[in-house]
Amino acid sequence: MPDRPLEQNCAITGIGQSAIGRRLGIDPLELTLDACLAAVDDAGLALSDIDGVSTYPGMMSAPRGFSGAGAVDVIDALRITADWHDSGAETSGQLGSVIKACLAVGAGLADHVLCFRSVWEGTAQGTAGRASVGMGGGGSGFYASGFMQWTLPFGAASASCWIAQYAQAHMHRYGTTPEQLAQIALNARRNAALNPNAIYRDPMTMDDYFASRMITTPFHLFDCDAPCDGATAFIVSRRELAADLGGTPVFVEAVGTAMRDRPSWDQIHDLTRTVGADAADQMWGRTSLTPADVDVAELYDGFSFLTMLWLEALGLCPMGGSGPFVEGGHRIARDGPLPLNTHGGQLSGGRLHGYGFLHEACVQLRGEGGERQVDSQPRVAAVAAGGGNTCGCMLVSTLQ
């Protein structure tokens, strides 16, 4: 490893989001550009300063709504002169695209990289209610291929069916309870109530949670994130350029990309320790900071249980100990020792697919959380996205 990890040459100098809603009916490229222009403006830059573009997953064959725009769509729409651009889904989760931007900046390929993630799954689902976004198929004449051939014939059509089995295994091995799992969803809803951009803001009790319909044991409806329309963007800048921009830079302290287990949803070695633990171990090896330094945690909750896995992976609680850690919800509350998913996560804030967590980390570190701002003046945030076989994490801070 170099003396100074490349990502430490970077700062997030701008953040931006489009409108966020269940079904906005807005052209996904327009949503994307709204977020991108907001981030450029927030950074105090002009479009002519942007010399790189990075996104996840880019233009790929994917379920409708999963990708709002490719890198080249944005480059062309904004007439960006790009010295570097990149996209793709074969990376360290959604944050992989931001991490790659850090590497490009650290390597001197670009000075200010525009990163974005854009989804329109809410509109893509049409009026069929809160349906799942399937990963392919259905109907006569359709055959399952690739990975889905191993799951779809058995009705395991969604990631919920795969990750529920991780949760069941965790409950079996460590005694984790459904009430403990519920705390992730309840905490998210409490925080979303204070976030004007969140999807679900009405109060939710433990009874409400258990009364929601079962999707696949142990996941109730409110253990599953809420598909929505929305885009999020960041500007990753060369660190020494950040000071002149006038805003509060959020420095990239360390990143984690490791994926040492099989890249599979069902062949991974240990269902109770997904590959996020590899990324987290690597991340902590690239910084002098430790889990005790984390002031706020913004951890992926595509399904509630994934947040518990990330708490363990990042060493914020003992391995296997996430159940007792979140018991009662006090430790993870906004006024607790480890405020968690302070914007409502994807469960209540909307499935912005990974980027929402980094956005909220920047908001909190900049002290711009408004009603939901944690009082303890956080300086270090742990951010994680993905779960199962694609994961990445970042440690960001305002420490000089």
Binding site: S145, F154, G155, A156, C161, Y166, H172, T217
Partner: protein, 148 residues
């Protein structure tokens, strides 16, 4: 399709997976196996990941497995394939790291537990592109069972 079989989305048959999806014709659960080191390859792949040998051939296993995890699915994902049903992840006894996502059948959902012994049972689906035999798993000690 068997008269009592539900609608299923079937796998697309290819030269690399035919042994698996059609092995049930003869009641056999078949995986590719490295003929040099004995490692079972799943999903199918042309080179053994252990010794990089290309000397690979389909071989039947016993069909016995244990339940590594499971979930009782209540959501209707696929029109015509009605919940509730048990999705299980089973590990074959010959090489437990080989796992199959499957359905646990011939028992009540609340009878399924992690660690239980199961055995393969095939569900035959006729299809113009080639018949499919889906490997499902049932409790190894089914009540009233008289089979060996």
């Amino acid at each position: 399709m068997m008269a009592d079989a539900p609608f299923r989305i079937l796998p697309e048959l290819t030269d690399s997976n035919r042994h698996f999806w059609q092995g049930g014709r003869d009641g056999r659960l078949v995986f590719l196996r490295c003929q040099q080191c004995g490692y079972y390859l799943h999903p199918p792949t042309p080179v053994c990941p252990v010794d990089r040998s290309k000397d690979i051939a389909p071989e039947a296993v016993s069909g016995r497995a244990t339940v590594t995890s499971f979930t009782v699915n209540h959501h209707q994902w696929i029109p015509g394939f009605d919940p509730p049903y048990v999705i299980g992840l089973v590990s074959i006894i010959e090489q437990p790291e080989v796992r199959l996502t499957t359905n646990i059948v011939h028992c009540e959902p609340d009878e399924v537990v992690i660690g239980m012994d199961v055995r393969v049972v095939f569900e035959h689906h006729e299809d113009p592109h080639g018949d499919i035999w889906l490997p499902l798993f049932e409790p190894a000690a089914a009540p009233g069972d008289t089979r060996a």
